[in-house]
Each structure stands twice: as structure tokens, then as C-alpha cells.
């Protein structure tokens, strides 16, 4: 993505790259302004609600991408981290009366801890083996939560799920009557996740993850312990996903294992990243921004008439993207941007 390319590396390419970088920066700034102004310009609650859902998925996909996109491993179990975050947030608030803001962070930390337990053995596996193991872990946790009413005195409430006790409009309790506060919270979370990814791109960890993706043996020869850095990245990703699960819980005011820890949720995150462009800062965001509304619109317009059609469309998009845009939708966008910047210069 844009930011990656704007790294000034070789003298001769410098001009092109910075031109491209400028275009990209402009685009990002413009998108930022639009994002900030959106709920003010379009205060319709359903519209804002839909935007929040898009941003939430963008945030979750960005979190997924943080490890999976950069080390090139396909996790289909990230929902387990969202589940830990979501459940922790709700339980800490409903049982201990501690503010969900803190609960989200605790949930994130717990998710990161779980990720170390899961990731330590799992990251030795490659390709489909890794993917299948992550599904297996997430499914174990899902089935366990669905069938556990209380665990060590903690009421998990089994398959029934847990609702967030209503206290009315309160910043401390992270409950608002309107949509706009949620919008800005998730927007800030997304920006932070994007910044973290942007930082990752130019950090040691980022270079190391990309090296591990490129070739594990070669990475080891360059002083990289793959297990260690993959785990660090996974823990950060799990933390972010866990916090996202906390937001999910607060926004929908309900968590249940079937959905929040379900395979479909994990698959959604992976698909958005992959279709948008994994291993890039803005790819997952692009994927979420394009796919979530497609799902929503087709569901709204076709769901009642031709059930299943919207998922068929989704599947076809996936097939086409894998075949014709292996680097994601961000790839053509990138070339359009650089063409535009060239034209701009020659003009």
C-alpha cells in the first residue's frame, strides 16, 4: 500500500515514489476528513449504525492483518480472541461493576495471553495445517463456552449468551443512546490500529514478519527467531482483536459464543483482509469498506426475496479476487494512484 511504497529507498525511484506518496497521503487525509464529518453530515442513525459496523469490521480485519497478513499465515480462529475480549468486558462490568473501558483492556490482555498459549505450538505449522489448527482451537473454545453455564464461579451463561446490563447514557459505563459516540470510539480505535500497522511496516518487527513470510530459513539466518516474533505479533493482534470484541459487546449489548467465537466471524475477518490486500496497511480497511456494505445491501434487498443470493455473490467475489487480484483490491488502486500522480507531474 501506499505507505509502504512511499518509503524512500532508491534514488532513481525517489521522484515517482514521493509523487505517489503525496497522492496517497492526500487520499488518506481526504478519507480522514470525510470520516470525521460523516455523522455530522449524515446524522441518520441507521446510516451511522452501518458505518460503525463497517468500521468495526475494518478494525477487526486490520487486527487480523497485523499478524496474519504480515507473516502470511491464515488464522481462521481469530474470533476466539474477540470472544475473550467481549466476554471479559461484559463480565467485568456486570459482575464487578468495573467500567467497560478498563474491561476492554483487560479483555485485550486476556486475549493476548490466550494467543501465546495457542500460538506457541501452532506457529510451527505451516499453510493449511496452521489454518486448520486455529479453527480447531476456536471451535474447542466455542463449544466449551456454549456448554458451560458457570466456570470457577464465573457465569458464562452457556449458549444463551450475556447481555450488557443497561444503565442509560453514561461515558463511564460506555453506553450511549445515540450512535455518534460509538462511531467516534470505533473510528479512533481504527485509526490507532492503522497507525500501529503503519508503525509495524517500518519497524524491526514488521521487517522480521515480512522476512518470515518470505522464507523462514533465510529469516533465521538473519538473526530472526520466527517463533518469538510471530508470537509477539500475534499477541498484539490478539490484544487488538480482544479490544474489538469488547467494543462489539458494548455496541450490540450482547455476546454469545455461537456468533462471536464462531468460525464464520473468523472467516469474515480473514476474507476482508485478503480481498482488500493482506500485508498492507489499508488493504483490510478497503476490504471491509467494500464488502460489508455489499453484504448489507444485498441482504437488505435480496435477503427477503432470494435467501442465499447475497452469500453466493460474496463467494463469487472471493473466487474472482483470489484469481485475478491476488494482492487484493488495493493493488489496482495503487497503480491507479501512481498513474494519477505521474499524470499530475507531467501536467
Amino acid at each position: 500500500m501506499a505507505l509502504r511504497i512511499s518509503k524512500n529507498m532508491g534514488a532513481p525511484q525517489l521522484a515517482t515514489k514521493s509523487g505517489y506518496g503525496r497522492m496517497a497521503t492526500l487520499l488518506v487525509v481526504a478519507a480522514g476528513v470525510v470520516a470525521l464529518a460523516l455523522p455530522i453530515a449524515m446524522p441518520d442513525p441507521y446510516f451511522v449504525h452501518s458505518c460503525i459496523v463497517v468500521l468495526l469490521f475494518a478494525y477487526m480485519a486490520t487486527s487480523w492483518n497485523f499478524v496474519c497478513g504480515y507473516v502470511g499465515q491464515l488464522s481462521i480462529g481469530h474470533a476466539m480472541f474477540a470472544g475473550v475480549g467481549g466476554y471479559a468486558t461484559v463480565l467485568i462490568f456486570s459482575r464487578l461493576g468495573i467500567s467497560p473501558w478498563l474491561g476492554m483492556l483487560v479483555g485485550g490482555v486476556l486475549a493476548a495471553m490466550l494467543s501465546v498459549v495457542v500460538g506457541y505450538p501452532t506457529f510451527r505449522l505451516k499453510g493449511p495445517y496452521f489454518a486448520l489448527t486455529t479453527i480447531a482451537f476456536a471451535e474447542m473454545i466455542r463449544i466449551w463456552v456454549e456448554n458451560t453455564d458457570t466456570f470457577l464461579g464465573i457465569p458464562l451463561n452457556g449458549a444463551a449468551g450475556i447481555t450488557v446490563p443497561l444503565v442509560g447514557e453514561s461515558w463511564v459505563a460506555f453506553q450511549f443512546n445515540g450512535k455518534t459516540p460509538y462511531y467516534y470510539v470505533i473510528l479512533v480505535m481504527l485509526v490507532l490500529a492503522l497507525l500501529a500497522t503503519w508503525r509495524l511496516e517500518r519497524s524491526k518487527l514488521g521487517f522480521y514478519l515480512k522476512a518470515i513470510r518470505g522464507d523462514r530459513d533465510a529469516a533465521e539466518a538473519l538473526g530472526i527467531s520466527p517463533a518469538r516474533y510471530q508470537l509477539v505479533a500475534l499477541a498484539i493482534s490478539a490484544f487488538m482483536t480482544g479490544v474489538g470484541g469488547g467494543f462489539y459487546a458494548q455496541f450490540f449489548r450482547y455476546v454469545n459464543a455461537d456468533r462471536l467465537i464462531g468460525v464464520e466471524f473468523s472467516i469474515d475477518l480473514a476474507l476482508m483482509s485478503i480481498i482488500g490486500g493482506q500485508g498492507t496497511v489499508f488493504g483490510p480497511l478497503l476490504g471491509a469498506v467494500l464488502l460489508t456494505p455489499i453484504a448489507e445491501i444485498t441482504r437488505g434487498h435480496l435477503g427477503g426475496v432470494l435467501p442465499g443470493l447475497h452469500i453466493v455473490i460474496y463467494g463469487i467475489i472471493l473466487i474472482l479476487a483470489v484469481l485475478y487480484l491476488p494482492k487484493g483490491l488495493i493493488d489496482p488502486l495503487r497503480s491507479i494512484l501512481s498513474r494519477l500522480s505521474k499524470n499530475g507531474r507531467s501536467a
Partner: protein
Amino acid sequence: MTHSISRRGVLGIAATMALGSKAFAQPAEVVIGWILPLTGVSASVGQQTRVGAQIATDQINAAGGIKSLGGARIRLVFGDSQSKPDIGVSETERLIQRENVAAVAGAFNSAVTFPASEVAQRYKTPWLTMGAVKDEITERGFEYVFRLNNKAIYDAREQIDAMDFFKKETGKGPKTLAMFYEGSDWGRSHAANVRKLAKERGYDVVLDEAAPPNQVDFSSQLLKIRAAKPDALIVAFYTPDQLLLSRQMMEQRLDLPYGVHSVGGGTEDPAFYKAISPRAVAYYFVQEDRQVDALQGVRYPEYDDLEKKFRELLGYNMSAYGAQGFATMYVLKDALERAASSDRDKLRDALAKTDITSGPALYVGYQRIKFDEHGQNTFAHGAISQNLDGQRRTVWPAESRAKDIKPIWPVPAFGARS
């Protein structure tokens, strides 16, 4: 079954707010929203409910719409929850904000109904719970949330009541029970209620077993049931698993002296009866949301039309889900007539004062529809049917039985059946 069926109707009056005033206006439109699982594992239920609601709507419109609103027609909009809570919430937002519905009905799955009805409450939009049986749905102090159908606890109580009654009637009955149910929300919450009641009534639960949905083999579980030797078996499964279970029980000739007692679910789904051999389900006791026999006395012309169209559209006979979709629309029609407005608050107040004792709204078989202060229809009840000669005939409550019907109790073993 009650559990999985939720009804949701959103009444929206599109754009014609002037209607509320006494000004004589063009026949306008009242929009009602439904949130249903139209895809995914519960899609079958969603489709049946949708068809039932649509047929009722067509009947209402054909009969002149909402007369107190100058003949306003009802238009339905549907949202597909895919059985996922967050999508159900988003769709509810869409219906309320975008489609401007006057009320929302739904959403079968308790997991969807819970957060989605809260959205309706927040926007002060009446929510008619359809299918979802979780007790708490009407126990949150939400004045915009109503429920036509049973609560979960009613279902369990009716099953146990029926057993107690047959025992009293014949002097014979089960002492030990086994429970076998699907391991997600509905099955588990039903099991919890049965567990509680069985203990109170002195039944001994000798096996309490859940299974994850969509199994391909129940042999191991049937072995456990065989080993536990219960007098009767209480089951709660959706259609695919119920089909597998019923077939394997017949194949393995797993006999229970006091039979199989199913709570709706697969045993209420007409597709199930199309797929299963009648022998496999003979003498089944089914706790039903709809009481066919109780309807034999009062037939409205709407019923024949409904049953005919339903069969044409779906290829099988009326189901409890279809009936609930149908009844929900007539409850809403009744409230709209009395409110003479599509204003959500006025409609809510009208719904709260609902007291229906006749008409097509009673198609599910209730004698009356009246909501208590929590919005629960206290006259909601199911019935217990027994599968006799290939038909489910009401055997409990006794007053709903047809004259020629008596339960077969205990049930004959597979080997002793013709």
C-alpha cells in the same frame, strides 16, 4: 415450537404521517417489519413464518386494509438475521430507521431477539416477539416489547403437566426421565426448565445429555439412553437432528414405556413429517405451539385460504411457524384499527390494551390474546399432541381433546406395533 419461532412485525407507516389526523386521505401504507432467519441453519423456520405473515397481510389488504386508517394497506419488509445477533440488530436498525416501520416482529432465535428487541425499545418502536421463548425477553421492563407465544418455562411445564395428568388419568406413568437435547440456546434452556420442574414433581432424571447440532450419528447417545433405562425421554432438537434421532431410535428399537416427549422443534416442522417414516414417530408426544384440534370448532374462512396458499407456496401443510406469522399480523391489524394511527407510541398503547377473543388472530389455538404488564400474552399456551394413526391429535389439555381421542399410555414397543 415456540422456542424457535419468533414473530416480528414492524408496522411502518411510510411517509403519510397525515393519516393520523382526521383529514380524509388516500389509503396509505402501513409498513411492518419482520426480522427472521431467512438463511442459515434456521432458514426453514424463517421461510414458513414469512409465508404465514405474507398470506395474512394479503388477506387484510384484500379485505380493505386498516379501516380506521382509511383503508391503509399493510406492506411487509423483511430483514434476514442469518441467526446472528449483530446482523439482527443491524437489520432492526434498518427497518426502524430506513423503512420507517410502525412496529417490528421477530426474531425466532432468542440470541437475535434479545439485542434486537432492545433496539426497538430504544427507538420506542413496538416489538412483537415471535418464536423466541426465553423468559427474560419480557422480563426486562421494556414497555415496547410484547410476546404472543409461550415462554420457555410454559413449554417445560406443559410437558410435565401432561405426564402428571396422564398418570392421574390412568394410574400409570413414568418415574424416571431422560433428557436429550441440542446443545445450543434453545435446547439447553428447555432442559434447564425441565430439570427444575422434574425435581419439584418427583421425577428422577437419569440422563441429561446435550449434543452439538448437525450430527450424523446418534448411536452412542442411544446406547447411553438404553443403558440408563428411563421410562420416558424428553427431547428438543431441530429438524435434521430430530430426523436422525427418530430414525435411529426405530432402527435400534429403542423402546421407552412412556414414550418420547418432544418440545416442538423438528417435531413441529412439516418437512420433518415428509421425511420420516410414520412408524418412526408413532405415539410421539409433541408439545405444540399450535393446537389443531382446538381449532376444529371455530373455522374462519381465512384459515382455508391460508392453509391452501401455504401448501401451494411451500409444498407442505401449515406449520406452527406459519401460524404464528399469520396470527401476529392479525394481532397487529387489531391494534392498528384501535390505534387509528401508525404512530409508534399510539400503536404501543393499543397493543398493550389488546384483548382478542375471536377472529383469525387465534389461529395458533389460543382462546384469548391479552398481554400482561410485561407484554407477555398470559393466555399463550401450547398443547400436547400424540401421533395417532399418522396424525398429531391433541391429548392435553383434556378440554382440547376431540371426543374420539384418548392418549395411548403407556406406548406399545416397536416390536408390538403393526
